[in-house]
């Protein structure tokens, strides 16, 4: 495998891991439930995206053309917002505590 491609794959892997780490760190650091929702729905999509891209580039150089990694991205994009929405609804149902400076009100329905 060419050095340039090796560097590219390594860079993508590092970038992906970094974003996955930041997303998980958000879960730990942000002050209330609703804010913590944002970490896993977004910072991780780019994380997984880079890892998938790295995997595709790596396996395409070994002669084995693999596009089924794209499916991981597709399913993630479909499921992440759905689960975030369900979590938010559940949180509103049990009146999860929120930071005092939050403006606007969650719904009761």
């Amino acid at each position: 495998m060419e050095t340039a491609i090796e560097w590219l794959v390594a860079a993508l892997l590092l970038l992906g891991s970094l974003f996955a780490l930041i997303g998980s760190f958000g879960l730990f650091k942000l002050p209330d439930f609703y804010m913590r929702l944002h970490g896993p729905t977004k910072a991780t999509t780019l994380g997984v995206g880079s890892l998938v891209l790295a995997s595709m580039i790596y396996f395409s150089t070994t002669g084995e053309v693999g596009l089924h990694e794209l499916l991981i991205t597709l399913f993630l994009f479909i499921t992440a917002p759905t689960s975030a929405c369900m979590l938010a609804k559940a949180a509103m149902q049990v009146h999860a505590a929120r930071v005092e400076r939050t403006r606007g009100e969650p719904w009761e329905q």
């Binding site: 997303g23 970490g39 910072a43 509103m92 930071v99 939050t102 969650p106």
Partner: protein
């Protein structure tokens, strides 16, 4: 004897299933194509009862442009949210924003809610029972009206064009 609409109630879903099946088996052969075609034919027929009102795509190219715009925004959203997470959390201004929907198509609303959840610092939390408003939680919202205007211009307008054939 039968209209094509009866055999293929969801042509786009059929095509999507065929494509997904090809990616799943990861091999383009006559066998997998036939299997994909059968799945693409049978699954929409079996699940037809769950969505009686198949979305009609009026301007597919607008949808393509929309998808690329959203992918670009997701890229930015990640850097943006990473910055917000790593910065001082006491400076964030979280807010629940009530977003008035102009879009009436159910599938379109679903796509819009998904898009909002995937892009900068916003998660769609709920849709009202009459499907006329969305509740959005923003991680850092200095100005509610600005957020509503951005979503309206960037995401809802193109979706209205695609799903409802309006001229606005």
């Amino acid at each position: 004897m039968n209209a094509p609409g009866k055999w293929f109630p969801h042509p786009w879903l059929s095509l999507l299933l065929l494509g997904v099946w090809q990616l799943l088996v990861n091999d383009l052969s006559a066998g997998s194509l036939i299997m994909g075609a059968i799945l693409g034919w049978v699954i929409p027929l079996l699940t037809h009862a769950f969505w009686p009102d198949p979305p009609k795509l009026h301007r597919p190219w607008v949808l393509v442009r929309f998808v690329f715009r959203v992918l670009g925004d997701i890229l930015f959203a990640n850097f943006e949210v990473a910055k917000l997470i790593l910065g001082a959390s006491s400076r964030l201004q979280p807010a629940f924003v009530v977003y008035p929907l102009e879009l009436r198509n159910e599938f379109g609303i679903g796509v819009l809610a998904t898009t909002i959840s995937l892009t900068p610092g916003t998660v769609s939390a709920d849709v009202s029972e009459d499907h006329r408003t969305l509740l959005i939680h923003g991680l850092d919202v200095p100005d509610e009206q600005e957020l509503i205007d951005t979503i309206k211009q960037r995401y809802e307008k193109p979706l209205i064009e695609v799903f409802e054939c309006s001229t606005t």
